[in-house]
């Protein structure tokens, strides 16, 4: 029963942080949460790095891409491909990757960045990355 109480306290905490604006990028976990999760064998780093909601990631990725000066905003769709839809080249893609790194606060390794050739792939990659904020 103590575990259930602790769990609901933890969940309450998580709900509260969701209401906060995105700028305090790292939500400091409750001491409670730290203790709980340590007991379960999770590291607190992983606790801080929760996965982002995919549709939120998609909205933010689309905004970053629309703001890129070489992209025609009217051609931006969730399925848009950097080369086929926007005619972007490797330097453009690298610039978009840098903008995504800034937006989501983590570094994308080069061998992964190489595969990011469309909005879909960017969204999938970021949504599955616990370091994304």
């Amino acid at each position: 029963m103590a575990a259930a109480a602790a769990r609901s306290a933890l969940l309450k905490h998580l709900r509260l942080t969701a209401a906060f604006p995105a700028s305090p990028r790292r939500a400091a976990p409750l001491f409670f949460a730290q203790v709980l999760l340590r007991r379960r064998g999770f590291s607190t780093d992983e606790a801080r790095g929760t996965f982002l909601d995919k549709s939120e990631v998609a909205d933010r990725v689309i905004t970053v891409v629309k703001n890129f000066q070489k992209v025609d905003p009217s051609k931006v769709t969730p399925n848009a491909h950097f080369q086929k839809d926007f005619g972007l080249d490797s330097l453009d893609t690298v610039e978009i990757v840098m903008a995504l790194e800034e937006e989501f606060g983590f570094e994308i390794p080069d061998n992964e960045a190489d595969k990011i050739d469309s909005i879909n792939v960017a969204v999938d990659f970021i949504a599955s990355h616990p370091q994304a904020k």
Binding site: K75, F86, G87, E95, A99, N111
Partner: protein, 319 residues
């Protein structure tokens, strides 16, 4: 444009019975002598010079069904035209070196295991096709195809006026080596820094494309490209002594130049153009083998070809 209507008629390409017959086959391309072992031949096309819809239709007929589909998948007329001209340029350029034996349409292509496109030659009874290697690069205003005889080649072009969204040094810190960043920092003038960044970028791209292992196969941070003065000292800032040469070295092994590769960097039709080519080791190094020889043609396939090697179109060559 008329040819875009084909998008709705795509199945016609796959059904040869329903296909509209050609009034006449395209005229043969003037044959070109093969590149010498130390040479890179470059053929380039300017998309804006081609406005004739029937000419573009003629080009479309040269492509494989798969290539046509890729062209039509591009979003919008401008991107479709660019994709079409890129494939046309590759096919027509390679055909020139087969002494009239192969038409542009008959070429087949495959990708090496890292994704670099290469020619897939058929077996011919009485003729050995030349072992041509090629690479292409394009911007919205120019498409270039480099060809060598049996030597890996990479080419990259960028518009001279290209601007970046991010600050040059941020980009350099993220993607370049510390030697390259230090070099860029010695340039006080922002325009000079901008153009030197683009120069380094195209050279690094050309090297990666020549290697043929993809961006992640040869990460930009693993190798430095720089100018080495003829007296062996590194060139810094604005001081370029006579005959500096472009060299590449591994970050893990500084001071050991990777001599297997030679470079050329020049301005072509208002584009910065970088070429990287493997040195011909079958012919042992002599004085002449040290630098990359270039021959350049401007083309409108089946319309006109112009050799521009010794003209103003090709400027400020650094090797």
């Amino acid at each position: 444009m008329f040819w875009l209507l084909r998008r709705n008629m795509l199945p016609l390409y796959l059904n040869s019975v329903a296909r509209r017959p050609f009034a006449s086959s395209p005229p043969p391309l003037p044959p070109a002598p093969l590149p010498c072992p130390r040479e890179t031949h470059i053929w380039y096309v300017v998309p804006d010079e081609l406005k004739d819809a029937s000419r573009l239709n003629q080009y479309m007929e040269l492509l494989s069904p798969c290539e046509r589909q890729s062209v039509l998948r591009m979003n919008g007329e401008r991107l479709q035209k660019g994709a079409l001209l890129a494939r046309t340029l590759v096919r027509t350029t390679l055909a020139r070196y087969t002494d009239g034996r192969l038409s542009p349409k008959s070429f087949k292509f495959r990708k090496n295991r890292f994704g670099k496109p290469e020619v897939e030659w058929d077996n011919y009874d009485l003729w050995a096709p030349p072992p041509l290697q090629f690479n292409i690069s394009h911007t919205s205003t120019m498409i270039a195809c480099g060809v060598t005889l049996d030597l890996p080649i990479g080419i990259d072009i960028e518009e001279k006026q290209r601007k970046t969204s991010n600050d040059i040094l941020s980009l350099a810190h993220r993607y370049f080596t510390s030697v390259e960043v230090a070099y860029l920092k010695t340039l006080a003038d922002p325009e000079c820094r901008q153009s030197e960044f683009i120069r380094l970028w195209t050279l690094k791209e050309a090297y990666v494309k020549a290697l043929g292992r993809g961006f992640s196969g040869a990460p930009f941070k693993d190798f430095t490209i720089r100018l080495e003065a003829s007296n062996g000292k590194q060139v810094t800032g604005e001081s370029k002594s006579d005959g500096p040469s472009i060299v590449v070295e591994a970050v893990d092994d500084p001071g050991i130049l990777m001599n297997r590769w030679k470079f050329a960097f020049f301005e072509l039709n208002s584009h910065y153009t970088a070429v990287c080519m493997e040195r011909d080791v079958k012919n042992p190094a002599d004085g002449e083998n040290n630098s990359l020889k270039l021959k350049v043609w401007r083309t409108l396939p089946f319309v006109e070809d112009e050799c521009v090697t010794e003209t103003d179109a090709v400027k400020n060559i650094i090797r």
